[in-house]
């Protein structure tokens, strides 16, 4: 049975709770709902690791597997290690990263509604259009369409998925068939969400750019119509931290997502130290990326990156700061916190599904969304996906193979 799994490329929920799928060349792809981390296990070790994940009382083939795939079921979460990139058992076994034939991660924008209007939002062109909002009966159709592509993980995003009345339906549709991650600003997060997330083993990603309230509010302001209705006017940073603490207290795996701009870059290392001490075990940093939806906002936030007046190329604050982040990760955080820096420089590396079920990729070169299959936009073929999406960059992005 195990051998057949390695051949059929479908996602399997193992006895351990870790989701796995086989991918030719890449070996065994794993997603742990305990740590919300994706790893690739080298093909030469894939079978042994699969056997261990399927019989949790057995011993892992190497200790590194217990520390990376085992936390939460075979080892205490506190003993987790987070090597980077996410290639097991060690990066030197991988001479190159083979191109996957199926998506690792699909981002499903289940709603276009959001209480925030972030200056760099890449999805604004798919948002705030009620005519595109899915009805209850659309959810299972879109979910099935997504699952037919065998993604290891589906990210429920938006807009803010907590604003969707169909969040639970979407989770029910995906539960056990793919890892579920919810992307949120945390602005409307409540204890009801905690119960729902625990039920479906959902990992949460909370966006939080700066611990300085004014800076976070500048980059991630409230959407004006929402701000008018909102009477408490809690700063967006405070709401995010409150949601983060609720998740940590409830034992829900949580990733903090931070967009690095010229306003936040210098504060990243200090923020990382605080997140580390707060108990955050996963931190993802994005270099702010151009997007057709919010190009003006991008230009405001990116600072001097690109060509300067003198004609020389400037890396802005990124090169220096990301080096410092890397040093802090190597020296301090690595033992307890995964850090993933996403440079967003390779176009068409992500797969998006709009609220209306249309599949897109986002280019940061041509600036705009590309429909993956013009003939069948809500049920694209794998061939059309592979022709429009840079699948190598896609794998690099989610396996944390960062290329500055």
């Amino acid at each position: 049975m195990m051998n057949s799994l390695l051949n059929n490329q479908r996602v399997l929920l193992t006895q351990s709770g870790v989701l796995v799928k086989s991918e030719q060349g890449l070996g065994l792809l794993t997603y742990s709902p305990f740590t919300s981390q994706i790893y690739a296990v080298h093909p030469t070790e894939a079978q042994e690791v699969l056997n261990w994940l399927s019989a949790p009382e057995s011993q892992p083939p190497m200790e590194i597997y217990a520390k990376t795939l085992g936390p939460g079921w075979a080892a205490p979460l506190d003993e987790a290690k987070f090597p980077s990139p996410h290639l097991l058992p060690e990066v030197k076994m991988w001479s190159s990263l083979p191109m996957p034939r199926q998506p690792l991660v699909i981002n499903w924008l289940i709603t276009g509604r959001c209480p925030l209007a972030c200056r760099y939002c890449y999805a604004e062109d798919l948002m705030r259009d009620d005519s595109r909002e899915p009805r209850k009966e659309d959810i299972s159709r879109i979910g099935e369409s997504i699952l037919s592509l065998n993604p290891l993980v589906v990210v429920l995003t938006g807009g803010d998925p907590l604003f969707s009345p169909h969040l639970e339906e979407a989770m029910q549709c995906l539960s056990g068939q793919a890892g579920i991650v919810v992307d949120t600003s945390g602005y409307t997060f409540t204890s009801k969400h905690i119960a729902l997330f625990k039920k479906h083993r959902v990992a949460v990603r909370i966006s939080f750019d700066s611990e300085r309230p004014k800076i976070n509010q500048y980059q991630r302001p409230l959407h004006p119509p929402y701000a008018k209705r909102e009477t408490k006017n809690v700063p967006t940073a405070q709401a995010a931290i409150a949601a983060l603490c609720m998740c940590l207290d409830a034992g829900i795996p949580v990733t903090v997502q931070t967009v690095a701009t010229q306003k936040t870059a210098n504060d990243l290392v200090a923020l990382g130290d605080k997140l580390f001490r707060l108990g955050v075990r996963s931190w993802r940093i994005f270099k702010v990326a151009p997007s057709a939806a919010r190009y003006d906002g991008y230009k405001e936030l990116v600072g001097s990156v690109g060509k300067t007046k003198s004609g020389k190329r400037s890396d802005g604050p990124y090169k220096y700061v990301f080096q410092k982040v890397q040093e802090a990760y190597s020296n301090t955080w690595q033992q307890k916190m995964a850090v993933q820096v996403t440079y967003n420089e390779t176009p068409n590396a992500v797969i998006l599904v709009g609220p209306d079920g249309v599949f897109y990729s986002e280019s940061n070169v041509m600036l705009g969304k590309t429909i993956l299959d013009e003939v069948n936009p809500t049920m694209p073929s794998l061939d059309s996906i592979c022709s429009k999406v840079n699948m190598t960059a896609h794998a690099e992005r989610y396996l944390n193979v960062t290329k500055p």
Binding site: E211, K214, A237, C245, D267, L278, T332
Partner: protein
């Protein structure tokens, strides 16, 4: 598991296991303790970037026969540390309260009592404040919750100090001295772009603060142990006061080793804003938390609203004129007029006032050294050494450059500066009268 050599299990019967496990023989406060960098450096190594070097210590050998050495702008108090090792008495004056309290914490005169007090606070760990909150948030230096914990720690520190020290005033001071290096851990600040400064507002991580406090107290014990082991009998006086106005005993000092703040745009009151804010919250007089405070520290970069002043030193006047002759872009001219020129004027005037005041306390037979670094502005060398030499000559002393050496990036704002901007020359100026 390795236990501390300083704290035995008997002394701390119920320290939680996980603390003991994290407790190494040699306690080094790492970045993850969230203590401010400046204090981590002071606790771990005993010095910060603005402190005497071993080379400066050698100057003390010229003053070994003197009974007491004065430092009227004593900063972190490294003179005391050097004097203590050599068995010479020291007299340190410092205006910036957090720096003064750091000196006091390291005072060899009190070191054994301070160690006892620190151990007692460790013994009180069952009474340390508890919180179930992971984090709190504020746009000020402290959140309500962080400040509440600090006030409770302060009360415990006072209790321990009162039981250890005979004099209530000293006990109060030692309690504050033990509190200030730790307060950054529970503040809502983050390191400034200029690394020694702090940015206002942010996240206060309450999660695990007790563990950090435990490590901090052990690191302090370790530091005090070093002070204690190296100390030779001598008397060390530390006074909170302003070199420009303090009334020192006339003709008391036969020797001086000092180094003024450098005009490198680092403001010592701004560097300690979280500490000053706590002092203000605790109602301690003398904290410099307001930009409008008239008693600006020497080298303060707050110039707006201050009365215009004109230095008397010819070297200073020439430098200020030269800056105005430099070909500059419009913005640079504006910046010079609004900020840099007034800044330098105040700096030089403050030095003149401070040294004139200090000179009254020096004996007719006197020898001293002033260590300064000349850095640059608009490609011109800021002639601090010349100005200081001239001030002392005008005060009726002999003064000359005793030694000089090229240095790079001493306190410079931009570590990537190259060429003349990166050039700093350190001078030891000898001052004497016989």
């Amino acid at each position: 598991m390795v236990r501390s050599t300083l704290i035995g299990n008997e002394a701390t019967p119920s320290i939680p296991t996980q603390w003991r496990n994290s407790h190494q023989k040699q306690v080094t406060l790492g970045r993850s303790t969230l203590l401010r960098d400046i204090y981590r450096s002071l606790i771990n190594s005993g010095r910060s970037y603005a402190a005497y070097t071993e080379r400066d210590r050698k100057l003390l050998e010229n003053l070994q026969d003197k009974q007491e050495i004065l430092d009227p702008t004593s900063g972190y108090g490294l003179l005391t540390a050097f004097c203590s090792k050599m068995g010479i008495s020291s007299y340190c004056v410092e205006f910036n309260m957090p720096q003064f309290y750091w000196q006091l914490l390291n005072n060899p005169t009190y070191v054994e009592l301070t160690k006892s007090c620190t151990r007692m606070v460790l013994d009180f760990h069952g009474r340390w404040p508890r919180t179930t909150l992971r984090a709190s948030f504020s746009e000020n230096w402290y959140s309500i919750e962080g400040l509440d914990i600090l006030k409770r720690i302060h009360a415990l520190l006072i209790e321990a100090a009162n039981q250890t020290f005979k004099h209530e005033d000293v006990a109060q001071d030692i309690a504050l001295a033990l509190l200030l290096p730790f307060c950054g851990r529970l503040s809502c600040q983050l390191p400034g772009d200029n690394s020694t400064h702090a940015k206002l507002g942010g996240l206060c991580v309450l999660n695990g603060w007790e563990n950090d406090f435990y490590l901090y107290l052990n690191a302090i014990l370790q530091r005090l142990e070093e002070v204690s082991v190296q100390a030779k009998p001598a008397n060390h006086v530390m006074v909170l006061g302003d070199a420009r106005t303090i009334e020192l005993e006339q003709s008391r000092f036969a020797a001086m080793l000092t180094s003024p703040p450098y005009p490198n745009h680092r403001d010592f009151s701004s560097m300690f804003q979280p500490e000053h804010a706590l002092l203000e919250q605790l109602g301690i007089e003398g904290s410099i938390n307001s930009r409008q405070n008239a008693l600006h520290i020497i080298g303060s970069n707050f110039v707006s609203g201050r009365e215009k002043r004109y230095p008397k030193s010819k070297s200073a006047i020439r430098f200020l004129e030269d800056v105005q002759q430099v070909k500059r872009v419009k913005q640079a001219i504006y910046d010079d007029e609004k900020y840099y020129l007034p800044y330098f004027q105040h700096y030089f005037c403050d030095l003149e006032v401070a040294y004139a005041n200090v000179a009254k306390a020096l004996r007719p037979v006197f020898e001293g050294y002033v260590i300064v670094v000349n850095n640059t502005h608009r490609g011109l060398v800021v002639p601090v050494s010349d100005v200081i030499t001239e001030i002392w000559l005008d005060l009726g002393f002999y003064a000359e450059t005793y030694s000089s050496q090229e240095a790079f990036h001493i306190g410079t704002k931009n570590p990537r500066a190259r060429g003349v901007r990166a050039r700093h020359t350190e001078y030891a100026i000898k001052i004497w009268r016989s």
